[in-house]
Symmetry: C2
């Protein structure tokens, strides 16, 4: 059963005997949505009344299961669903999680301002939440989602760009280095080699630069590596050989993407849309488009 | 300049005038390393004395720059450097970060037990830290590293396996679902299709199952998609076409990996070792092996 989008629900006034006392401890929807008296029930229509109430009760049950700290907060981490980049970390209270469930926009509780805040409410760079995960202790939350733009207020893609070990090792040039995982670290290296092509005689010889400057070589390598990957299956080579050939396919493919100005994140977004595990999200998107 | 591995340093007794008062507020090395009096200075040899003291001072400077909360803690998130999976979240105090810097094993402060603890000290599933990132506010830390095994005490790869939105949508079969990003979600889908091959007539027709059961088809598709990817460059097709063809190459390549029993994480580990951005880590590994 697909659940209704809570953020599309309108407060409807219901009269007795349908009049139900609903906790106004938190609200569903936009953070500036006004809190009304308990005589207001959020329901898209009276025919959906039971379903909405049931859902609201389920949300409460999930929220009850979270181990909120003495201030009523839990750690909330926003992560890019396609790249895995940790975008930011904040804190969430019951209301923040309930709002995220209903609006599907990552919402936090600001400890300094003592208010809810939805990431993007001023910058428009919302984080569109696909799934929310609780950890085994139920005191830590992941908002797994797709950011509309840079998450950090500095304009950086993520808030994590200060590498401690690099700083300790005196690598001044790396003081602003995003916390990139392997695939994106490789992408960043390839992008640097591409930039170096603009500067004649820059640095040591580089295979990546050579590939990037020679279209024929690049394409022949991609075809060759794909063939070698296939042969690990056809000729029953060992599994490590297959891993190594796939690494070659990926690297050379990414060099081509760099030539075309395509980011791996775009490739992964295409895969996510095609192969959405549940199919539910796809249906939901189709519905919201119609 | 490569910094020395602090965890290999031995406490050496130095006499005046070299005798230097060193804070014993925190120690470098294993968490059960005994704290000695200030007459002990951690130095690998007197010839390295100045360098070690300089490094220690730099570590202090970095730790001073962290905005510790009123309990002296900051949020610390451990992330798999190859897959981007958020493995766990804990808290760190100065000593925990200093220990992580020196031991390169993700170390936290247990609020319940009021002690340092290094993830893996009982399970041996250490998280080998490659880099430590601070966020823009300097009150949140990422330990980016490679886990030796499952991180969660439940035996799960990560501590985040409770999907809230799925639970709300009554998808009971998904109650234990890891917080996987796109690439690993796709890998998981392909693995499920492979399992289904064991059960005749299972479910709806599936292209992935067909690929997995037909080696010839799979290999011809990989070669075909690689060729189409190359043609986006050779025939100057638009960038979105290149992204789409790369998605096809990735998906079909991953189907082959599933056939061979290879994980994408292994492929990315190979890429990381080959293309380590700095080269420093590689040098360090070479040194530690000799």
């Amino acid at each position: 059963m697909a659940i209704p989008h809570l953020h599309s629900l309108q407060p409807v006034r219901v009269s007795s005997p349908c009049r139900v006392s609903v906790s106004n401890q938190y609200h569903y929807g936009r953070s500036n949505f006004s809190r009304k008296s308990s005589s207001l029930v959020y329901a898209s229509s009276t025919s959906n009344f039971d379903r909405d109430l049931h859902l609201q009760s389920k949300v409460e049950t999930v929220l009850d299961s979270v181990k909120w700290d003495e201030k009523g907060l839990a750690v909330a981490i926003a992560q890019n669903v396609d790249t895995g980049a940790i975008l930011m970390q904040g804190f969430a209270n019951r209301e923040a999680v309930a709002t995220t469930v209903s609006s599907r926009k990552a919402t936090f509780y600001s400890r300094s301002r003592s208010t809810l805040w939805t990431k993007g409410e001023t910058s428009n760079n919302f984080i569109n939440v696909q799934e929310i995960f609780l950890d085994c202790d139920r005191d830590s939350i992941i908002y797994l989602g797709k950011p509309d733009g840079p998450t950090c207020h500095t304009g950086s893609e993520t808030c994590y760009y200060t590498p401690v070990l690099d700083l300790l090792e005196h690598r001044q040039d790396e003081e602003h280095k995003l916390a990139l995982t392997t695939l994106y670290s490789l992408e960043s290296t390839i992008a640097k080699r591409k930039e170096e092509l603009e500067v004649p005689e820059s640095g040591k010889p580089s295979w990546t630069r050579r590939l990037l400057s020679d279209e024929k070589l690049l394409c022949s390598k991609i075809r060759e590596e794909a063939d070698e990957l296939c042969r690990t299956l056809e000729e029953n080579e060992d599994r490590l050989r297959a891993a190594s050939e796939m690494a070659d396919v990926l690297y050379h493919g990414m060099a081509l993407l760099a030539r075309k100005g395509v980011k791996m994140e775009e490739v992964l977004e295409i895969l996510r849309r095609r192969f959405s595990q549940s199919g539910i999200e796809e249906k939901r998107n189709r519905k919201s488009q119609t």
